[in-house]
């Protein structure tokens, strides 16, 4: 992906993707146009220093329909969903929800994001639910390390936690796991039919 | 006086242009009177003593031949144009002979509504200098006989006159004695300066010749003559003298054109022009103002700028 962060924006009705704006607004249930760029979201964001675009700029880029710039950045993957921005926004722009929407859009597009660790973790987490019904941290961590190629990550933490009884080596599936599987499949079905975003 | 203490070698100043000036003044005065452009001409004529010159007002074209210009033409004739000299103004439209320094006074007086430019024809004279006070009128003009003000003159050519007569010779470099004295005084402590001025003013006999000769002291009634209330003690005693000279200097600040007539006429040789020069220097420094260089609507003390220095105000 070309780094488009600093390139010139050529604005026109063609280059401003209004559909993208509408999609974000529908998914998040929050207005984007209401934002007047006061910067309060960025001021309080605990993750600001890890982001390339500060949260307010994310909204600004959506306002201008610049979907590529938004999704190309790593900011959306560094949002911790702490809700500080949404809580304090003077215009009730629900930026946390907008971030969810953006991640969903990126996920669907098999995102141009560079932040694959976060995406990987999320995928594994959801897979766990699908496979077992509940979360098993040991498995999550182990698979994550294998998949992300960080075999030695948190190497010292595991045995300690195990000894404290905090990680279970073995786990069982929910008895009613089938119901979860159905939920997954129904959602998939709905999406295929276009009934759900 | 020279700061080094070494006496200045005497230099003679070329005054050949003065004769040219005299001729040109005569013919111009004659023309102005003949053509009835003016009703009277204020100029100089020879005095009784050889080489001396005194002011004269002529109304007849025939009198034009009396007019002269020489190093003895020390008087500042602008004084005849102030409203205080009603009898002269009453003669009608005037022409006046003016050296550069006199022209500065004329410009100041115009700014103070004493006359309008169109009411007066100014015959400007290029001037290499005039005699110092006390010099015999027929003596040649030299570095020894020249007036102090002329040593530091910056207006040899009276720019802005209706006609400029005479011819400026090559001028020798002369020591700016007043400037050097000012520097010396400025370097003293306030106490020392007070002693200096106290001794000077104490000599004052309050003859008020300085006031009489000053083109800007044209008030109908001087503040310092007033009895109710008495601003300044009118008797010639040290206290009143000090008051008079302070008030005089303050009233001339921003107006005085530096003709130094006050100092010339002082029978007690009080260096009055030092005060005037000092004030002019301060006004130039504070407000970039120099009196009389061009006629100005407002003087430095009748105008202001919002950004004026106020570092002295708490």
């Amino acid at each position: 992906m070309k780094n488009i962060k600093n390139t010139k924006m050529e604005l026109s009705q063609e280059t401003m993707n209004v559909g993208f704006i509408k999609k974000v607004e529908a998914l998040s249930g929050s207005s984007v146009r209401r934002c007047f760029q006061c910067g309060k979201c960025s001021a309080g964001c605990p993750m600001r220093s890890f982001m390339d675009h500060p949260p307010n700029r994310i909204v600004r880029l959506i306002q201008l329909g610049q979907w590529e710039r938004v999704l190309a950045g790593r900011s959306i993957w560094y949002c911790a969903s702490c809700e500080t921005c949404s809580t304090r926004c003077p215009n009730k722009v629900d930026l946390a929800a907008i971030m969810d929407a953006l991640r969903k859009l990126s996920w669907d597009a098999d995102g141009p994001s560079k932040e694959s660790y976060v995406q990987l973790a999320n995928k594994l987490f959801i897979n766990n639910i699908k496979q077992y019904g509940r979360q098993y941290e040991m498995r999550l961590a182990a698979v994550f390390n294998v998949k992300s190629g960080q075999f030695l990550k948190d190497l010292m933490l595991g045995p300690k936690l195990l000894s404290k009884g905090k990680l279970k080596m073995f786990h069982s599936k929910n008895k009613n796991l089938a119901e979860i599987e159905k939920i997954f499949s129904r959602i998939e079905e709905m999406r295929k039919k276009g009934d759900a975003p | 006086m020279k700061s080094t203490g070494k006496p200045e070698p005497t230099v003679t100043i070329d005054t050949s242009g003065y004769a040219v000036a005299t001729e040109e003044i005569r013919s111009e005065a004659k023309r102005l009177l003949l053509e009835k452009i003016v009703d009277a001409v204020v100029g100089y004529q020879s005095g009784r003593r050889k080489g001396s010159a005194v002011p004269v007002i002529i109304t007849d074209p025939a009198q034009a031949e009396q007019l002269v210009f020489s190093p003895a033409c020390v008087n500042n004739l602008s004084i005849y144009l102030t409203k205080a000299k009603k009898e002269i103004r009453a003669k009608g439209k005037l022409a006046v002979v003016a050296k550069g320094c006199d022209l500065r006074a004329l410009a100041g007086l115009m700014g103070e509504s004493q006359f309008k430019r169109e009411e007066v024809v100014i015959i400007g004279v290029t001037c290499a200098g005039v005699h110092s006070a006390g010099v015999q009128p027929n003596e040649p003009l030299t570095s020894a006989t020249i007036a102090k003000k002329c040593r530091e003159c910056s207006v040899h050519i009276p720019e802005g006159a209706d006609l400029i007569v005479g011819k400026l010779p090559l001028l020798p470099d002369l020591t700016p004695t007043e400037k050097e004295l000012l520097e010396k005084l400025d370097a003293m402590t306030p106490g020392e300066r007070w002693e200096y001025w106290k001794e000077q003013f104490t000599r004052c006999i309050r003859c008020l010749a300085c006031r009489q000769v000053c083109p800007f002291c044209y008030c109908e009634q001087c503040l310092c003559d007033r009895g109710r209330p008495q601003a300044v003690d009118t008797s010639p005693r040290p206290s009143g003298n000090m008051g008079w000279h302070i008030v005089r200097a303050m009233h001339l600040a921003g107006r005085c054109s530096g003709c130094a007539e006050c100092e010339r006429v002082c029978p007690m040789d009080i260096p009055l022009n030092l005060l005037n020069r000092k004030m002019a220097q301060e006004l130039k420094e504070l407000y970039q103002y120099e009196a009389g260089l061009t006629p100005q609507e407002k003087g430095p003390l009748t105008s202001y700028d919002e950004k004026d220095d106020q570092s002295f105000i708490k």
Partner: protein, 161 residues
């Protein structure tokens, strides 16, 4: 009296700002030395340098001139004119040989009771430490020139003039 020397201080003030500021110091019960005598004017623009001269001659040891801050003049520009007038006058006094520490200028607004107290207190203390001003009052007693110059250098200057 608490001190050996209590200076006489005259304050020429405008009625709209400094006089009101001094009133505020009063209503706020701030304390300051009692040496100052206030002469009220409508505006600093009305204050004539002659008054300062007169006050010195009448025995004032220190003088304060105070009015509205620039831009706050009740009469729009009176203080601007005063500012120039006194900028020049103090230069003249300095040249004549008056110690300018004895002549103070300030802007004190109607809201600056504290500043008034500060300025009056500081000026009083300063003048107190300087001692009485006798230059002008001594002249009152002098009748004529003694003919002698105390300082040889002064004499040299004098002779040359």
């Amino acid at each position: 009296m608490k001190h050996d020397f209590e200076p006489k201080i005259v304050a020429f003030v405008c009625t709209w700002c400094t006089y009101a500021g001094a009133d505020l110091a009063g209503t706020s019960r701030m304390l300051y030395p009692s040496n100052v005598r206030v002469v009220k004017f409508p505006c600093t623009g009305r204050i004539d340098p002659v008054f300062i001269l007169k006050a010195f001659q009448k025995g004032a040891d220190g003088i304060l001139v105070s009015g509205c801050h620039p831009g706050d003049c009740h009469y729009m520009a009176g203080n601007f004119h005063a500012r120039r007038r006194f900028a020049v006058f103090r230069k003249l006094l300095e040249f004549i040989g008056v110690d300018l520490n004895r002549l103070e200028f300030s802007w004190v607004s109607a809201a600056e009771g504290g500043k008034w107290v500060e300025i009056v207190t500081e000026l009083t203390e300063k003048i107190r430490s300087m001692g009485p001003l006798t230059q002008f009052t001594d002249l009152n007693d002098e009748e004529q020139w003694s003919g002698a110059l105390s300082n040889p250098e002064l004499k040299a200057v004098y002779d040359q003039v």
